[in-house]
């Protein structure tokens, strides 16, 4: 049992001849919310894909709970205990909300426990309860985000990865989602999230990294980062001073 739950160590990623990550190193401590901040084309979403095994890095290692998961197929990484809330939510549009939640528990086989978790999700996400029989594709963006989070939690992950969870949501839902992310951490699930909106993300995060064109340019406790004047320049992609 290490203190660091997820570690990315010296990751170098390429899309064809273009290098996306330069020696990327990130540590996510157990029980915390860690956010990765950065503007467009900074390599944030690619970082998420590396963790989930959707892309392989050219070099470097990803370690989860002391176990190397670099280059494993995605389903095995999920089974190792990582949950995913993908960018733009990616629910199964023609399945009902209930079916979407149960798909989240696909990698599990403990029926009684799944049923218990299902009931727990409905108390945690009351809005989801009202929509159970509805097709997921017909929900609003905010509702879909709730379902996506509940779906990821149904897998009982130790780490949950969220790719821009507040993107495209109304301000009302943004606050609700941030609140829920805090609640998830308080339940003992470690959270790694990727965000463009630094000020929002740092409000709830414990620790932050700032990514700029594939390099970590700044990192530290969220409370310090939020006061750092460089953060604005960095995450807006401003010029170096």
């Amino acid at each position: 049992m290490s203190e660091t739950l997820l570690k990315l160590d010296g990751i170098n990623t390429f899309y064809g001849p273009v290098q996306v990550h330069f020696d990327l190193t990130i540590a996510v401590p157990r029980g915390q919310i860690v956010c990765l901040l950065g503007g467009n084309a900074s390599g944030k979403s690619t970082t998420m894909k590396i963790i989930l095994g959707l892309i392989r890095p050219r070099s470097g290692a990803v370690t989860f709970d002391g176990q190397a998961i670099t280059g494993l197929p995605t389903p095995r990484i999920i089974r190792a205990g990582i949950g995913s809330v993908p960018e733009a939510r990616r629910l199964f549009p023609a399945m009902t909300v209930r079916e979407n939640l149960l798909m989240g528990a696909f990698a599990r086989s403990d029926r009684a426990e799944i049923a218990a978790d299902y009931d727990r999700m409905l108390t945690l996400f009351p809005r989801v309860r009202e929509r159970l029989a509805q097709r997921a594709g017909t929900l609003s963006g905010g509702e879909q985000q709730m379902v996506a989070m509940a779906r990821a939690l149904m897998g009982r992950p130790r780490l949950i990865c969220m790719d821009e969870p507040t993107m495209g949501l109304s301000p009302l839902y943004v606050d609700r989602v941030l609140e829920l992310i805090g609640a998830i951490r308080d339940e003992g699930v470690t959270v790694f999230m990727v965000e463009q909106n630094a000020s929002l993300a740092l409000q709830i995060a414990d620790h932050g990294y700032v990514l700029q064109t594939g390099r970590i340019v700044l990192s530290g406790p969220a409370g310090e980062l939020i006061r750092d004047p460089r953060i604005r320049d960095a995450y807006l992609g401003g010029e170096k001073r």
């Binding site: 989930l52 959707l54 197929p73 995605t74 389903p75 999920i78 089974r79 995913s84 993908p86 990616r90 629910l91 199964f92 549009p93 023609a94 399945m95 079916e99 149960l102 798909m103 989240g104 696909f106 990698a107 779906r151 897998g155």
Partner: protein, 607 residues
């Protein structure tokens, strides 16, 4: 068989057979967005496995069915593993072509093992029939109906209640998201191929027993019918596929009742085209537009073409032109003449499929139109041969473009299906329009090639004529593509929506491409008709369409030199190895598979 009741029963039975095929195609399209052109071959394998089990193992019917399902499911898994899994992440056209290659290999394999002679496949069931209403129902009707309903029920239960079934549905809706839920999508693919192939094989065995007849040529038709049924119900829609199959079966059966059995397929393909044009998403979807498949641009593998210098092309032409001076090579000249004729077809197809990106699977129909036009002009109207051939080019340009025009708004897979259907319709119209085409008898006594009183029917003369015509067509096409027109064509291929936003009229440019392509193919067909002196509705079969596509891919899509080289290579290689003549389709199939796997951009690269 006389009453409407009998025709209805027959339609439903055939519909059930189609449903067993179409459901599998729909499942496969659902999870992997692939039209499995090898599906009909699996169906034929099913029929032959059933025959062999009964013949050699003397199995009773239930055991035969189990064996057929098991063998075909295994075959499906092998197809997925060997033919398709290695192609993950390559251009979208690759797996489609791979299934075509696999179907060639399977069909030829059956031909070699079982010979092309038809065989009887008896169900071994007693020949009971019951009087119902105004007609009768036989035991085979009941069996097929029961199997159809039972399979649908089992499939429904599997998809709705089993964990793997959930995984299949989730993968069909969002493959990446399914992987992020821990779904092993490779396993889903394998499962789907096993189910689809098991049902497909069962379908082949049942149809063999229904007609008490099987042969190795039944694959292509089965694939077509399954695809048609699936398009009617909406691609990838499983319940839709069942409904589409029953509708197709009934339409065919009533069509046969009204007009006779040679109209069966005509009804099927007219129904296909009507659905594609009016409701391309199937009868159950409300949208009239086809979904924007992420296909344009990625449908064809991009590459850097090999540049062949102009002097090398001229040297090649001169060498080819001097070849007839070598004595005693009449046989080689004949083969190469055939090669030049195919090269004209390949030039035409490489323009349409490669440069403009509309992968046509019905190109042989253009040869047929050209061939019949030239033959009938010369025979019935006494037009001199050179003018008849030229007129055939123009007629093919006009008729071919007009026929494809309704399909211009389709994309990707849909354009391939539509052109396949149009190709079949042309053949069937030729067969049935006896007043003009002489129907099944064909056109005989077509005057040989001549120009201004000069007989051109010696091997040398036809060789030169075809070589020069081909070279002229190739040069014209190269000139056409060099400037603004070529750029516009390629823009449409890469991104038709972007092209439209720049004010490019898609219809006009696609029309121009098909017209020029029709002209070249029409000339080729016309010359062929005069060379053969006899043609019928089977002279230009859909196998030629697929062969032409293989040539074009071999050379590199859109690559003119590549098209010519591809045509000459595929025509002359099987001739060089005489012993290999009966393995011809096997060679084509393996060529296609190896190419797609190791050099998807073709020998000379796509342009």
């Amino acid at each position: 068989m006389s009453s409407w009741f009998d025709y209805t029963v027959n339609g439903l039975i055939i519909g059930n057979i189609y449903a067993l095929l179409a459901v599998g195609l729909a499942l496969i399209f659902g999870v992997s967005h692939l039209i499995n052109f090898a599906h009909g071959s699996v169906y034929t394998v099913g029929a032959y496995v059933g025959w062999a089990a009964i013949r050699y193992l003397h199995t009773p019917l239930p055991a035969t069915m189990l064996i057929v399902v098991a063998v075909c499911a295994g075959l499906g898994i092998a197809i997925e593993r060997l033919g398709l899994r290695p192609l993950q992440g390559s251009a979208r056209i690759a797996p489609l072509l791979a299934t075509i290659g696999i179907s060639f290999v399977l069909d030829q394999g059956l031909n070699l093992i079982f010979t092309p002679d038809p065989r009887a496949l008896s169900s071994g069931l007693p020949n009971w029939r019951w009087q119902v209403g105004g007609g009768t129902i036989g035991i085979m009707d009941l069996l097929i109906g029961a199997i159809g309903i039972a399979s649908a029920g089992v499939l429904f239960g599997f998809l709705r209640f089993s964990k793997l079934g959930w995984a299949v549905r989730a993968t069909a809706q969002d493959r990446d998201a399914a992987r992020q839920m821990g779904v092993d999508t490779d396993r889903v693919n394998r499962t789907v191929f096993a189910i689809a192939s098991g049902l497909g094989g069962l379908s082949g065995m049942l149809v063999g027993m229904y007609y008490n007849h099987i042969d190795t040529a039944m694959s292509f038709n089965a694939t077509l019918k399954g695809v048609v049924a699936q398009v009617i119900g909406g691609m990838g829609n499983v319940p839709g596929a069942i409904f589409g199959s029953l509708l197709l079966g009934l339409t065919e059966s009533y069509g046969v009742a009204l007009f006779g059995s040679s109209y069966r397929n005509l009804f099927a393909f007219v129904l296909l085209l009507a659905v594609l044009v009016l409701r391309p998403n199937g009868l159950f979807a409300s949208a009239r537009q086809t979904p924007p498949e992420p296909m344009t641009g990625t449908f064809i593998a991009p590459s850097r073409p090999v540049r062949v210098p102009a002097w090398a092309l001229w040297a090649g032409f001169v060498a080819a032109a001097l070849l007839p001076l070598v004595p005693d090579i009449a046989y080689i000249l004949q083969t190469l003449t055939n090669g030049w004729l195919y090269a004209m077809l390949a030039l035409s197809l490489t323009l349409v499929a490669g440069t403009v990106g509309q992968v046509s699977l019905g190109h042989a129909a253009l040869l047929a139109i050209g061939g019949y036009a030239s033959a009938l002009l010369a025979l019935d109207l006494g037009v001199p041969v050179p003018f008849a051939v030229l007129a055939a080019g123009f007629i093919t340009a006009v008729v071919g473009t007009a026929l494809v025009f309704p399909a211009f708004r389709l994309r990707g897979h849909y354009i391939s299906i539509a052109t396949l259907g149009i190709g079949e319709i042309v053949g069937l119209v030729i067969l049935n329009w006896e007043g003009l085409t002489r129907g099944p008898i064909g056109v005989a006594g077509i005057p040989p090639l001549e120009a201004g009183g000069w007989e051109l029917d010696s091997p040398r003369a036809t060789y030169w004529v075809t070589l020069v015509v081909m070279a002229v067509l190739g040069l014209m096409q190269a000139r056409l593509l060099r400037g603004h027109l070529g750029r516009t064509f390629r823009a449409i291929r890469e991104d038709d929506i972007a092209a439209r936003t720049y004010g490019i009229s898609l219809n006009r440019y696609k029309g121009m491409a098909f017209a020029y392509g029709g002209f070249a193919a029409g000339i080729s067909g016309g010359i062929t008709a005069h060379m053969y002196s006899y043609i019928n509705h089977e002279t230009f079969t859909s196998q030629i369409s697929v062969l032409a596509l293989t040539m074009v891919i071999l050379g590199g899509l859109g690559n003119l030199t590549g098209a010519i080289i591809g045509a000459v290579a595929l025509i002359s290689l099987p001739e060089m190895f005489r012993f290999a003549a009966e393995y011809r389709m096997l060679i084509y199939g393996f060529t296609l598979l190896l190419l797609i796997r190791f050099r998807p951009q073709g020998v000379l690269g796509t342009v």
